[in-house]
Each structure stands twice: as C-alpha cells, then as structure tokens.
C-alpha cells in the first residue's frame, strides 16, 4: 500500500511541475508579459519598472525558479482590483465554490446513480429510454443556459427562487441544479453501462446460480462493483465542477472562485486570472491523487498491484 501511495505521489508532483511550467511559459511566450503584469493603463515607465521588478530580462530558467519559489511560499501576487494578496482572496472564495460543487455533485449522484441502475436493470424498456433521453439532453444543454432558463422560469415568472447571490438554501438550489445537470447525465450513463457490464458478468451469473434472491444479487454483488468507475468519475468530476463553475457562478453571481476568475477577466486583473488557473490545476492533481487512494481502499486488487 505504501509503495502505491508513494508512486502516485510522485506522479502528482510531476503533474504539478508540468502545470506550473506550462502556465509560466505560456505567459512569457505569448506577447509581452510586462503588459499583463502591469495594471491596465500603465505607462512605459511603469512597464520598465515591472520588467525590473519581475526580472523579465533575466534568462527563462532563472525566472522560472523565482516563479516557483514564490508559488511555494504562497505568494501569488497582488490583485489589482481588490488590492489584496491573491492567494488569500482565492482562499476566501473557495469555500463558496466547494459548497456549490458539493451541492451540485450530490444532485448529480442522487439523480444519476439510481436512474442509471434502473435503466440497466430494466434495460431496453421504458425507464431505459427515458433515461437515455435525459442523458442526451443533459449533455447537450450548456449549463449556463440551463441556469438562465431556470432564472427566467423560477425567478421571473414564478418568483419562487432568488436569481442571484448566496446566503440561503434557496439561493443554492438553482445554481447547483444548473451545474450538476450535465454531470448527472454523464453519471447516469456511466452507471448504466457499468451496471450492465456487471450484470452480465460471470460472478453475477454464479450468484444467481447459487439461488440468491435477485434483490441481494443486485444490491450486494452488482452494486458495489458497478459503482467503482462511477465514484472514480465523480471524484474527478468534483474538481472539474469547481473549474467549470465559472459560467454558472457568473450567471447567478455566486461568490466563488469561478466568479473571481470572471472578475479577473472583466477587470483585466491578471494575477487573479493566473492564480485561479494555477490553483485550479493544483486542485485537480490533488483530488486525482486522493481518488486514486480511495479507489485502492475500496478495491483490494489495486492495493497489491501498486
């Protein structure tokens, strides 16, 4: 088990390294980094000052080392607009995004998994067809459009739910459904196909041959096995949700890191944009690592393969 964790940790570190390198290079390579790092409306003197401050004239690898050391220390720069440390800013907004992602993930699992299971158990019958349509629609509708239409319906026409901001559970409902909708569809699909595969497996066949009641066959033998790929996907999706939430947070003015990114773009606040992307990537790597470990806990085969 330990060997397994160490190996995964190593891979995660490599990913982080490549991530930071990519972001670093992209910024330096496309256009003039001084313009990006300076506030909008900077004069030539300001630009020169920036160049000196960040050492943009020095060789690339020196710059990179400096870049990395700053990052490790948690120094992501200062926000132009908010005039505060970007890292602190990000961290203060992160809980809101995590809350939204958790709610959306719950929605997507609560809707997706049972629908997928029913679709698989009643394969090719009514439920399955309905499920397929639902999945297809989910994957075809942009999440922010779902959000906008829901606002139109539930806020403007019906007046039931608030259209923006946060603070109460009511505020959470629409954004989490808008965000979770697409993932519900993909979770449903995966649950269904995974369940179908498991239901056709030899060990399920043997379980039936043992004379076990069908409910036990499905709940004990099929369910746990079928769920493995779905949970893996869900874990990875959680972080993707946080990153993709930028549009939903913008639509609902939800105060998370997605909206922070939007503000960064709108106000041309580059340090914020860079930090959001970097930290978003870091989160993906970290969560992938955790999911891998969790996977090993659930499935005993993985532990021994390392």
């Amino acid at each position: 088990m330990k060997k397994f964790i160490i190996k995964r940790l190593g891979l995660a570190l490599i990913s982080l390294f490549l991530l930071s390198l990519t972001i670093f290079l992209l910024m330096r390579v496309t256009g003039d980094p001084a313009v990006l790092l300076a506030e909008p409306g900077a004069s030539q003197a300001d630009l020169d000052a920036i160049r000196a401050q960040f050492g943009l004239d020095r060789p690339l690898y020196v710059q990179y080392v400096s870049f990395i050391t700053h990052l490790i220390r948690g120094d992501f720069g200062q926000s132009f607009y908010y005039r505060t440390d970007v890292f602190e800013l990000y961290m203060s907004r992160l809980p809101a995004s995590l809350l939204l992602a958790a709610a959306a993930m719950t929605f997507s699992l609560v809707v997706g998994i049972p629908t997928g299971i029913v679709a698989a158990v009643r394969v090719n019958q009514w439920w399955d067809s309905i499920g397929k349509v639902f999945a297809l629609l989910g994957l075809s509708m942009p999440s922010f459009w779902v959000g906008l239409v829901m606002i139109l319906f539930f806020s403007v026409y019906l007046g039931w739910l608030p259209s923006s901001g946060s603070g109460t559970v009511l505020h959470l409902i629409m954004p989490s459904i808008a965000l979770g909708w697409v993932f519900a569809a993909s979770h449903m699909r995966l649950t269904r196909s995974s369940m179908l595969e498991v239901l056709g497996s030899e060990y399920v066949k043997l379980a039936r041959l043992k004379g076990l009641p069908e409910a036990l066959v499905i709940s004990k033998h099929a369910f746990k096995n079928a769920l493995i790929p779905v949970l893996t996907l869900a874990g990875i999706n959680l972080v993707i949700m946080v990153n993709v939430a930028v549009v939903v947070e913008t639509v609902f003015a939800w105060p998370g890191v997605g909206r922070l990114l939007f503000e960064g773009i709108a106000f041309r606040d580059f340090p914020v944009v860079q930090a959001t992307v970097l930290l978003g990537g870091v989160m993906i790597v970290v969560v992938n690592l955790l999911v891998d470990i969790l996977y090993a806990v659930i499935d005993p085969r993985i532990r021994y393969e390392g």
Binding site: E202, Y203, L206, R208, L209, K210, P213, K224, N225
Partner: protein
C-alpha cells in the same frame, strides 16, 4: 425414491431474435435421465447446445430464450411448472453448477469465505459465525491448504486451481443432489486438471451426487463418466453407457469424434479432423443436421430428420443407419 433423480423428456429451448424473425433451436427434443450417484457426460462442439441445456435445467435462460416443449422432472416434479422463487430455492441448494472460468466466477470485492458462506446463509438461514465455520470446513473438504487463512483472502490472491476449488466448495455447500460442471477444467493448467477431476470424483462419491459433466473433451468423459450423451446442433445424437459407446459408437458423428483423438503409437500419420463446420444454429440443414459432413450419408438423411433409435442395451442413436425393422423408440 423410485425412478431416476433427474429426467429430461423431449426438451426444446429456442432463441428468438429481437424482431422475431430468426429462431435458433439451441436445444432440440432432448431426452436424458440421471440417477443418484451417476455421472453423465455431455459432449459436443461449441454451439452444440450443451451449456444451453444446463441453463435450461436451472431455468436461468436469458430473456430471448424460451423453453418451447418438454419436461424437466427433478425428484418426480416438473421444474417447468415451478415459480421463479421456487426455482431460486432449488438453485444452489438442490441443483448446483460450476462455471468454466473461476476468476470470473468469483466477485473480486468480497472475500472467499464470504462467497462460500453466502449460499449457506441464504438457503439454510445460518448465522454469520456458523456459516463462516462451515465455509472453512468446506475449504478443507476441497483440499485447500491453510483454510483458516485462505478463507479471509480475496480471489485475486489465489491461484487458478484454488479458485476453481472454491467454486466447487460453493457448489457443494448446501449439499445438493445434482452438480452440473460446465467445462470446469478448460481454463486450468494441464497439471492441475487431473487433480481437480479427482477432487470432483471424490466429492461425488462422498456426497452421493449426481454429476453432469459438460465438456468437449472425450478423454475426460472416459475417465469420469458412467453415461455419455453426444450433442450436435442442439440435438442428442447418441447416448448410453460410456464403455459401450466408446467401444461401439453407432452414430457417425460419435465415430468421427472418437477417431479424431490422437493416440500415441497410432499407425496413422495424419490427424483426422471432421470435415466441415457445425451448422449455423439458426438455419440448420434439412433432414439430419449432420448430413453435410457425414461420411455414411444416405438419400433419406437429406430430407428426413431421424428420430432416436434404440441400439443395444440402453444406448440410443439418432441416425437412420440405426433404424431397426420395427418402429423407432419414442
């Protein structure tokens, strides 16, 4: 108990394609019987219907398949008339089955002990502790070393031979009367096969099981079985006591099968295989299904499907060559 333990009379199972256009006669008019303590070998090429026959017995057919006619008399009662919940009480408890691939048959997420104890808990209502103890004893009975330790392990930690023994342990856990083994040694190494077959034979003797052994390997049948039934294209073409059939096979297919086994010291230099391929089960040839490949074909064979004829003592053959002067057996 009077009469045979298991009696299959004129059983037919058909698969119907999704649109109802194609009908595949997977099992066609099969009649067999089996007594307590006997071993019946069912032999045939792949697609001959052997596995479908076993699944039909246990009423575990996929939705596309239907039992069209016949009776499955088990302990004097027709299994076709039983409800699904009644069948579930029979499966695993009175009739058990071993599948071919032991790695695939065991659920990778649960311990071996859990899976062996399961039928005991479900069928006999045993408590967890008792079932676990029984499971350990069963592992001992199938000759697994250090059963107390193995019982807690997962399937992937065991070798192929051990896994197949576990599957065997699961099968006998509730003391069934009939055990169906579907190609149990095909995925095992040759060196393990003999050991496993010996285990099966010993288990059969000690538990007085009726054993149905499905295989394509005539050598195994010779070693393990008292009776043999040869299947071709879903039909039973020859059946009877093993020694008799091996010494004097009546059906040309059986003859060809026996001839194709290479033997050391054979004067023939070439391996004789049977010409041609088994027919498409959804479109079998008219008349006798074997006629396109039969070296002893007669005109009649092309158009009329032969019924079963009695040949010598307890041996039957579905071939016009075996037709006596008087009427054929039902």
């Amino acid at each position: 108990m009077t009469g045979p333990l298991l009696e299959i009379r004129r059983l037919s199972t058909h698969y119907v394609s999704a649109r109802g256009t194609r009908v595949t006669r997977a099992v066609d008019d099969v009649t067999l019987s089996l007594d307590q303590g006997q071993t019946l070998g069912i032999v045939g090429e792949s697609g001959s219907g052997k596995t479908t026959l076993a699944l039909t017995l246990l009423r575990m057919l996929p939705p596309a398949a239907r039992i069209v006619s016949g009776e499955i008399m088990f302990e004097g009662v027709d299994l076709r008339k039983k409800s699904e919940s009644e069948m579930r009480r029979i499966r695993g408890k009175r009739i058990a089955m071993i599948l071919q691939d032991p790695m695939a048959s065991l659920n990778p997420l649960f311990t071996v002990g859990d899976q062996v104890a399961e039928p005991i808990r479900v069928h006999e209502g045993a408590t967890r502790g008792k079932a676990w103890t029984r499971a350990t004893e069963l592992l001992k009975a199938v000759r697994i070393a250090a059963p107390e330790r193995r019982v807690r392990e997962y399937p992937h930690q065991l070798s192929g031979g051990m896994r197949q023994r576990i599957v065997g342990a699961i099968a006998i856990s509730c003391e069934p009367r009939v055990l169906i083994a579907d190609e149990p040694t095909t995925s095992l190494d040759l060196t393990i096969q003999a050991q496993y077959l010996k285990l099966l034979r010993d288990l059969q003797r000690s538990h007085n099981l009726a054993l149905i052994f499905i295989t394509h390997n005539l050598g195994i049948v010779a070693k393990m079985c008292d009776q043999v039934a040869v299947m071709y294209a879903g039909r039973l073409v020859e059946a009877g006591p093993v020694k008799q059939i091996y010494n004097s096979p009546a059906h040309p297919y059986t003859q060809a099968l026996l001839e194709s086994i290479p033997r050391l010291g054979d004067s023939r230099k070439r391996l004789t295989a049977i010409d041609g391929q088994p027919p498409d089960p959804s479109a079998p040839p008219p008349g006798c299904a074997f006629h396109p490949r039969c070296p002893k074909i007669m005109d009649r064979c092309r158009t009329e499907a032969p019924p079963e004829f009695g040949v010598a003592d307890a041996q039957t053959s579905r071939c016009w060559l075996s037709a006596p002067m008087n009427a054929a057996r039902g």
